[in-house]
């Protein structure tokens, strides 16, 4: 049975985050031939609407208001509820991002619906789609169904592939106007620490450092390697706590959950809280001088050795093969 599905698009500094396109792909699986509508909430964001269509949205609805310039659970839920009232969707998809994690439970409560959070795969062959999500800090998986009513999920970034971009695909872009009132939480200041460049949760290659990196300068070779591979630098909590790098780089249960194609862990022991954030990476390389380190248990390839020897050699070797 085909369903009409609303998909929340997310922007960062004016550009769409990749997870918005992945959510469209997830929306299509749930829609089963039904309409997939992207919802874009913010202020002065209409420019990117066509990109959502190119990635498969059948229509785009924008909600713009000065009060929606920054995210708030009150503002964004009012905006979405207005769209929901107009469209009566049977499904909703958003990213399991900071925003999605904050907003989705409130919306589910408003709509008196179930919600399956942090979905990494969808089985949509039968009547009611089954959603797969990691549990127990990534050590197990569960398959869930929504018994009845709205099919509402959040998806983990970088797991459900976006559809191929199709330039010139056309779709209607309309707007809904909402009177945003009574914002009970007000953002006074935002301190952006996240480095510019590749978004960690969406990077294809991550070079991560732990306490074994030993200093801020110790991260330089890791940065060089990441740049060379078009990737991003990440870190363990140990490295952040020791002030070798900023907390915005932290990967794990408390930090970002990442699923790159290649994760290179340098001087990271492999604590469960760290693994919860990276164990689903496609290929894991561990570089650690302790052959007993836990990280080797999840690594596809391991080098037992001093990262300060290995990483510079890796940089050289990658440069060589790039040239040839």
């Amino acid at each position: 049975m085909s369903k009409k599905v609303l998909v929340l698009a997310e922007t960062r500094e004016g550009s769409l985050r990749n997870v918005s396109f992945e959510a469209i792909a997830a929306g299509k699986m749930i829609a089963d031939g039904g309409e997939v509508i992207s919802v874009l909430i913010g202020n002065g964001i209409t420019d990117v609407a066509n990109e959502l269509v190119a990635y498969g949205a059948d229509r785009v609805i924008t909600v713009e208001d000065a009060k929606l310039e920054q995210y708030s659970s009150d503002g964004f839920s009012q905006a979405l509820l207005a769209v929901i009232e107009q469209e009566n969707p049977e499904g909703i998809v958003m990213g399991h991002t900071s925003l999605g994690k904050d907003l989705s439970p409130k919306l589910a409560s408003r709509l008196n619906s179930g919600l399956v959070s942090d979905v990494t795969a969808i089985e949509a062959d039968g009547d009611s789609p089954k959603f797969i999500r990691p549990i127990y800090s990534g050590k197990a998986f569960e398959k869930k169904v929504i018994k009845d009513g709205l099919t509402f999920i959040t998806i983990r970034p970088n797991n459900i592939p976006a559809l191929e971009k199709e330039e010139g695909r056309s779709g209607d872009v309309s707007s809904v106007s909402v009177d945003i009132t009574d914002l009970r939480t007000i953002i006074k200041e935002v301190v952006r620490k996240a480095t510019d460049g590749v978004d960690l949760s969406e990077a294809k290659v991550i070079v991560a450092g732990g306490r074994g990196v030993k200093s801020e300068e110790g991260f330089e070779p890791l940065k060089e390697l990441a740049d060379l591979l078009g990737g991003a630098v990440g870190a363990s909590r140990g490295a952040c706590d020791a002030d070798y790098c900023d907390y915005s780089l932290q990967i794990g249960q408390t930090g970002k959950v990442v699923t790159p194609d290649l994760y290179i862990a340098c001087g990271i022991s492999g604590a469960i809280q760290h693994m919860a954030g990276m164990s689903n990476s496609k290929v894991i390389v561990a570089i650690n001088k302790d052959p007993e380190a836990n990280i080797f248990k999840v690594a596809d390839y391991g080098i037992v050795g001093d990262l300060f020897d290995v990483v510079p050699l890796l940089i050289e070797e990658f440069k060589k093969v790039k040239v040839s």
Partner: protein
């Protein structure tokens, strides 16, 4: 301040996990206070020490949950409430748990409710914001600092590594992120005192709820472990050769670069 903490008893995920009979095997497993709820308890105690009032820790669980509630009392909470659903409910989901907690909290005049941002076992992060919505109070998730001044509250929250300063007011619900504080260990006198502190046990009936009212909206149809990963390959030989081999493998075998 009248402070409530939402506390979940969780499986210690640092332990080995196995599945038997379609469920995560619990025999011999270690259970702990969800680590993010430890931050919540600590913050509640600190706020009470600074502003006066009372800290009540609430958990939906079973008989076994008493142990973690006693630990919370030993840390310094004043009261504990166990909503024991063992005999009343077969299946639950995030909606069910949030509904039960909300029904309990709705007439308690809480100034501040503190939960964890996520449970390390279930991992949905849904329960606390659902409770806030049900009670129609504002909420702020993943907080790393909170300052209360009369009704006014200033919060710093972690947003994927960026930090946001937020102004809001009581009554309020917040969820704890790592970095909020360093939870204390219960002291020996704390443990002694905890034995005499009130730990009430109530059931669905005491909240005027029937099993139907909390019927889950989602259902788990299967639980499984990830396919055992083939043992990784630890490279051997001189470092230079290992590095060459690694790059080769990443290009030709794994095909990721």
């Amino acid at each position: 301040m009248n402070i409530f903490v939402l506390m979940k008893r969780t499986f210690d995920t640092e332990e080995k996990i196995s599945v038997s009979g379609g469920k995560i095997a619990e025999d011999g497993a270690e259970f702990i206070i969800n680590p993010y709820d430890e931050y919540a308890i600590e913050e509640a105690i600190q706020l009470k020490d600074a502003h006066g009032g009372e800290v009540t820790v609430v958990s939906v669980g079973d008989e076994e949950t008493e142990k973690q509630l006693r630990t919370a009392l030993a840390m310094g909470a004043d009261k504990a409430v166990l909503i024991n659903i063992e005999d009343d409910v077969d299946m639950t989901d995030e909606f069910s748990i949030a509904k039960i907690l909300s029904e309990y909290l709705k007439d308690k005049d809480a100034d501040l409710i503190i939960g964890g941002n996520v449970a390390i076992d279930g991992g949905s992060g849904q329960v606390a914001p659902r409770v806030a919505d049900y009670l129609n109070i504002p909420y702020v998730t993943t907080i790393t600092s909170i300052k209360v001044d009369g009704e006014k509250v200033e919060i710093v929250r972690d947003v994927e590594g960026d930090s946001e300063t937020i102004e809001t007011s009581l009554p309020l619900l917040v969820t704890a992120q790592q970095g909020l504080n360093d939870p204390r260990y219960p002291s020996l006198p704390g443990i002694m005192k905890a034995k005499k502190k009130p730990l009430d046990e109530i059931e669905l009936d005491d909240l005027d709820l029937e099993e139907d009212d909390v019927e889950p909206k989602t259902e788990t149809v299967e639980i499984y472990l990830p396919p055992a990963k083939e043992a990784g390959r630890i490279l051997e030989g001189e470092v230079d050769d290992q590095v060459k081999e690694l790059v080769q493998l990443l290009r030709t075998e794994a095909k990721v670069v």
